[in-house]
Symmetry: C2
Subunit: 242 residues, 2 copies
Amino acid sequence: MAQNIYDDADFFSGYSGLRRSITGLGGMPEWPTMRAMVGTVTDKRVVDLGCGFGWFSRWAAAAGASSVVGIDLSDNMLARALADTEDTRISYERQDLETLVLPASFDIAYSALTLHYVEHLGELLRTLYEALSAGGRFVFSVEHPIYTAPSSPGFIADEAGNQVWPIDRYLDEGQRTTDWLTPGVIKQHRTIGTYLAELRSARFDLVDLIEWGPTAEQIDLAPNWRTERDRPPFLLVSADKR
Amino acid sequence: MAQNIYDDADFFSGYSGLRRSITGLGGMPEWPTMRAMVGTVTDKRVVDLGCGFGWFSRWAAAAGASSVVGIDLSDNMLARALADTEDTRISYERQDLETLVLPASFDIAYSALTLHYVEHLGELLRTLYEALSAGGRFVFSVEHPIYTAPSSPGFIADEAGNQVWPIDRYLDEGQRTTDWLTPGVIKQHRTIGTYLAELRSARFDLVDLIEWGPTAEQIDLAPNWRTERDRPPFLLVSADKR
């Protein structure tokens, strides 16, 4: 079973205070890019893997999806998602993505910043591929491998005083334990090559792969985002079932 | 026109002393992986972009290719390639890859550690796609973007004394000037996302993308390769024309 860190009281309290938790999709600077990768959802059946507070699930229903299933492991997240959701086309399920079961068919699958918590990615992708309709699309974001690789993931100064991101262990994949909001958050580090190989092995066709960083306009609005261009925070991927 | 650093006397002298220059493909630890990506060359027409001393061109001819064209910008490299080549199925041409012309058709294109010197990658890929036969394959290696990104590309010690690779400017693509063998070597930094987007734009179908590092067996034989697993030196890609 995956670590259920979102049901840790301290972690959940910290997470609830993040800008993206308070303002939803509008507080996710990568959202405009992901929305373009998702494309139109009108009359489509949507599944949201790691739905959290349900921001994307509610967006999809409001944008015309015929049904939306939001899946998460955290009781904390699902309780708030339920409390914030009125649209009856949306349902929520508590499931561990390590052992996901998808009895229904879907046209669009979406997963934001969740798969780097999943150990058995290959099994999840095969389950998802089976459940997608022909022509269906999977769009996901994960923490970028440059972000997850380091033993000590934090900017440091080099000898000249320039701020740099200290890479090590990039090719040695597997568990990383970091302190983010609380100590001991467990993530799975994978290279871009491995994400692509796992998609190919599950028979997905790659559509797009974007190493995301903020635009100049976004940096003007939020200058502290500038260093995200030094090492990308997120990897965004879309892949189709043909 | 691309920088012709291989015709700089100091650079060429240094390059000629590298293990991979002296022992050829056997001195390239990534060669077994690239050979598998190339597949069989029997009765195929092969082009070698940035052929250098002609090691791959001679291997392809010896492995049964019907013809091999090796292309390079450096007179130094081509002179030695010619001197070392007897097989009449191999010909060499001096061309700048920035303005490549390929009048013949090819079944396999190969390029080792050359494309990170090319500024107009999109034009080169379109030229290559046109010249490849249906079902043809392009296999190339470049310096990995993690390797090319930094302002100061060299390992440093972090506060705990661990050796780390200092990433900055990863998302800011374009020219990097580094000191390798001689000062002022000009390379083009591109992200993995951009390599994939350029291939897609030229209508190639991605087959494989490998962020290469040495195996445990290779490190046993050459312990100084161990740190290459901390940040991958090479990106290997194969793509097909369907």
